[in-house]
Symmetry: C2
Subunit: 167 residues, 2 copies
DNA sequence: TATTGTTATACTCTATAACTATA
DNA sequence: TATAGTTATAGAGTATAACAATA
């Protein structure tokens, strides 16, 4: 049996953990996209709702910075959530250029539902693991995420990418 | 201290494992996208190269089916890899509608480099974990991926999604 | 008539730049 | 002149439908 060409966990074949993460991550995102249709949101809208909740009263600029996205991208999202009564934007009287974003009562309810959906998401995805193993996995993933400098609760889908890749 | 609203690994706050998977997965994909620029490929091209390698001589239809993508999407990718001398397509003399795709020698070399890059990718992402923990993580992820029915080596980015989501 | 690969077209998503209104 | 939010525009990516060649 010839030596394997790279150091790998199973010291044999199969995908690397990094590939499994990418694969499972895309899968998880797709499943989540299906689940959130229950509250008639898409993933970016759900993320924005959470961002508003984590720091009520902030401006769109501040939220954009937290999410790592160009502020222009928020405009349509904010407007949509506003029209549907999930968030509220009030002009700051001191500086009338700024909006301050808050969750409405309906928005709060939807956020609670999102929490339940997150639990459902977890159960769907981790059906292969028993409680002890789930705990192990959660610990490992948390540590990896922290070391990689990922902002808790913020999906990299918001993060602006580098220069466009070559054709 | 009030009870938490959903069953969660850490039985307290913080993101679910499913969210961590989505977050880390998107991050991993971004990092991979950066790494493969070394061989002047983008992730879909790298995936196609691997797909061709796993079953040489197949038609574009067959590969499209494996990847779960519309065959039209392969046209541009195949053409690009062909023009750059990484793959070769020969008309099947028995049925001249079909192409049979093969890796060239150059393509083989690039594939080998991709293997090295995959190892590098793993090391970058799992810097937080020691060898034992990496092994644990790999085992857990493999089991979850298998239970979720994910095709080994095929990134869901190829998989055709459902109907477009509501605006 | 059915199938392989191709081309044409449309749509979604997102980034950049130009604009307005306030300061 | 600078900043918050908006609008306009352009580009990447991908899906669907129509097409040509071959069977």
């Amino acid at each position: 049996m010839p030596p394997t060409e790279r150091g790998h966990p199973s010291s044999g074949r199969g995908p690397t953990s990094a590939f499994l993460l990418a694969q499972l991550g895309a899968h998880a995102a797709q499943v989540f996209g299906r689940l959130v249709t229950e509250v008639d949101l898409n993933p970016p809208q759900a993320g924005l709702l959470r961002a508003v909740a984590t720091g009520p009263g902030r401006s769109q600029q501040e939220i954009a910075k937290q999410l790592g996205t160009p502020p222009t991208r928020l405009v349509a999202l904010v407007e949509d959530l506003d029209q549907r009564g999930l968030i509220e934007r009030t002009r700051n009287p001191a500086d009338r250029r700024l909006y301050a974003l808050y969750l409405t009562d309906v928005g709060q309810k939807v956020l609670t539902t999102l929490g339940r959906i997150a639990g459902q998401h977890d159960d769907l995805l981790l059906a292969a693991l028993d409680p002890t193993e789930r705990e192990q996995l959660h610990t490992l993933l948390s540590r990896v995420a922290a070391q990689q400098g990922l902002t808790p609760g913020v999906h990299p889908g918001y993060r602006t990418l580098g220069p466009p890749r070559k054709k």
